[in-house]
């Protein structure tokens, strides 16, 4: 009888003690292999929750071709364009927190989705886009302006998604709010940043693993119908829920939500070729960091955390002239407190969820 067990001669990364190496937690690299590389000329489109904005920004800084089709009019100053959320993603589609929102967005871009309730009245006679409620600080001046801006955005998004080579999507939430009449999904509950909540019309939904897997499959199929060579990277946002609609502790809702998203991501990756799961969630939440990658509110991700995630991303996906390592701004921030504040400003993200507390 031989002395043997199934763990013998397995690589180091499969063992807790050997997986992290020596020399500090910043070496944590949970990526074992990737199914493709990203050339610096590859057009990369990003979407998803707040965390996806960090990813997008770092891709740009690192020399990837973060593909932006709706850049804002060239006559407008860059500062103002940033304030109005141009250039955060490929087009001004805002945060897509859930798989259902992504699918709905893709149906708007490529097809037949026409919501019953397409504009909400905001404060001071302004109009709020229910599907990107914080995209336009101050709101739109008329419903006509809002609808035209959305049409324009969808055109830019179509151009981006049809020509992208890599699509990075960050799954953010399972909790969402729907319109019962046509199933429209909102990033924020009606009444938070515009419109008004009506329990005859609106309902809460907490997506299950099956919901998410089904919606993501449909989304990927839709994308690959128009763009068959598209490569996809899925991530799960490490940012906890800002609020839960369930009568339970927000942390309990957070762990449920992240667990569901993580399981769904795993299943989707197993079913499709050229789809990778990238463990940004694991890097940020790893016990080694003792929550140091979270800000004072234990929710916002610190620049060092994002930097760690993106360093690993570059290491495994980058090639060619892509600059591996820490973006210059981050290096400076370590040396100068004032600069750190500047970076934090730079990393300030559009987060619809925060409106819930306002």
């Amino acid at each position: 009888m031989k002395f043997s067990n199934p763990y013998l001669r397995k690589p180091n990364h499969q063992f807790w003690k050997k997986a992290f190496g020596r020399g500090g937690e910043s070496l944590l690299d949970p990526v074992v292999s990737t199914s493709f590389k990203i050339e610096n000329t590859d057009r990369v489109v990003t979407a998803g929750s707040c965390f996806a904005q960090h990813v997008a920004r770092y891709l740009t800084n690192a020399g990837f071709n973060h593909f932006v089709t709706e850049k804002g009019h060239p006559a407008i100053s860059k500062k103002v364009l940033r304030e109005f959320n141009y250039g955060i993603f490929a087009a001004r589609y805002g945060n897509l927190y859930t798989s259902r929102q992504l699918l709905q967005f893709l149906k708007s871009v490529y097809g037949d989705f026409k919501p019953l309730d397409d504009a909400w009245k905001g404060k001071a006679e302004r109009w709020i886009d229910p599907f990107r409620p914080n995209i336009q600080p101050g709101g739109f001046v008329s419903k006509q302006e809002l609808l035209q801006d959305r049409r324009q955005m969808l055109g830019f998004a179509r151009e981006a998604l049809s020509n992208a080579q890599v699509f990075v999507f960050t799954l953010g939430l399972t909790e969402c709010w729907l319109d019962k009449r046509d199933g429209s999904t909102y990033p924020l509950a009606p009444g938070v940043s515009g419109g008004s909540f009506d329990d005859e019309i609106h309902e809460f939904k907490n997506l299950s693993v099956d919901d998410i897997v089904g919606e993501m499959k449909e989304s990927i199929q839709l994308l690959r119908e128009v763009n068959p060579e598209l490569k996809v990277i899925l991530t799960v946002s490490p940012v906890p829920l800002n609020a839960t609609a369930l009568d339970q502790h927000v942390w309990v809702s957070t762990t449920y939500s992240k667990a569901v998203l993580r399981v769904a991501a795993e299943q989707i990756c197993k079913e499709f070729d050229r789809i990778d799961y990238f463990p940004s969630y694991e890097i940020i939440t790893a016990p080694h960091h003792k929550s140091a990658y979270y800000g004072p509110d234990f929710r916002e991700i610190q620049p060092q955390g994002v930097e760690h995630v993106m360093r690993i991303f570059l290491k495994h996906y980058g090639q060619g002239d892509i600059q591996e390592g820490v973006p210059e701004e981050i290096q400076d921030s370590r040396e100068n407190d004032k600069q750190t504040q500047k970076i934090e400003g730079m990393l300030e993200v559009l987060c619809d969820e925060e409106s819930i507390e306002q």
Partner: protein, 285 residues
């Protein structure tokens, strides 16, 4: 000055000072208006050219005075040496009651920044644009709206606001406070309606733009009206008065009446200046 230069989609505008001179002359402050101006002895008129002369001295920041001297005589680093050696003492601080020979007991009229809307949209941009103007009460439309890129109203408002604040209101903040009389900002004259007139009288720097096409009158009008709104809001913010274009010079559609056109594409003539003068007298005196 550089602030205004940086505004432009018209980054191609090379000689910003030329714009200031033209602005000054054609609004009627110099030339035929000088005699009138003498009657308003208690008023300081101020635009981006005279700003150069006055502003360095305002606000008790006397190193600016040395910077001005330094620049005039090409004495590089003079002021920094004086400061380092401690030669700049309180005795050099200008008296608060007079600056550049001007008494504080006067009214103050700012005419800066009169061209931002024109720089932005007199000529078609290579990326043609439109925007919704919620206060548009005039029956002025243009037909190719749907083919144009729509810029949200709030985006253009923020752009105008940002640049006007940096280029006009922040630099003049101390000046507004210095003068003990009323501080007033004049809105620029309304746009000329006729594209043909504009084409025939186009200023050289507009000819240097990539697009030789003149924007539709309705778009020019909306930009003008939006810019005046921004100026009005900023005036409220800085606690000064915003004087609109004189009603007698504005047609019912909102454009400059032909009689008040100057022989160029953006400015009004001296007749218009006289109306502004009367308007000011009514308000200030």
């Amino acid at each position: 000055m550089s602030h205004i230069g940086a505004l432009t989609h018209a980054n191609q505008l090379k000689e910003e000072p030329a714009f200031s001179l033209i602005n000054l002359r054609r609004l009627g402050i110099r030339g035929g208006w000088l005699n009138e101006q003498r009657k308003l002895k208690d008023v300081v008129f101020y635009d981006s050219l005279s700003n150069k002369e006055l502003f360095p001295l305002i606000g008790g920041r006397y190193h600016r005075f040395f910077e001005a001297i330094e620049s005039f005589f090409h004495l590089n680093r003079l002021s920094s040496i004086f400061f380092r050696w401690g030669w700049l003492s309180k005795r050099r601080k200008p008296k608060k009651t007079r600056i550049a020979g001007v008494s504080a007991k006067k009214h103050f009229v700012s005419m800066m920044g009169g061209q931002l809307h024109n720089i932005f949209g007199l000529m078609e941009h290579t990326v043609k644009f439109t925007f919704h103007f919620p206060l548009d009460q005039h029956d002025e439309t243009f037909t190719d709206c749907m083919e144009r890129t729509q810029i949200p109203y709030e985006v253009i408002y923020a752009h105008f606001y940002e640049h006007s604040k940096i280029a006009i209101f922040e630099p003049l903040k101390d000046t507004f406070n210095f003068f003990e009389g009323k501080s007033v900002h004049l809105c620029p004259p309304p746009p000329i309606r006729s594209n043909e007139y504009i084409r025939q009288n186009l200023d050289p720097y507009f000819k240097e733009l990539p697009s030789s096409e003149i924007a539709p009158p309705a778009l020019r009008l909306r930009l003008y009206q939006l810019y005046c709104l921004v100026l009005k809001d900023l005036c409220v913010e800085y606690g000064i008065v915003c004087l609109p274009a004189p009603e007698q010079a504005v047609c019912e559609k909102g454009f400059l009446i032909d009689d008040f056109r100057n022989n160029d594409c953006t400015h009004a003539n001296e007749k218009y200046g006289s109306l502004v003068f009367e308007q000011l007298k009514g308000y200030l005196l």
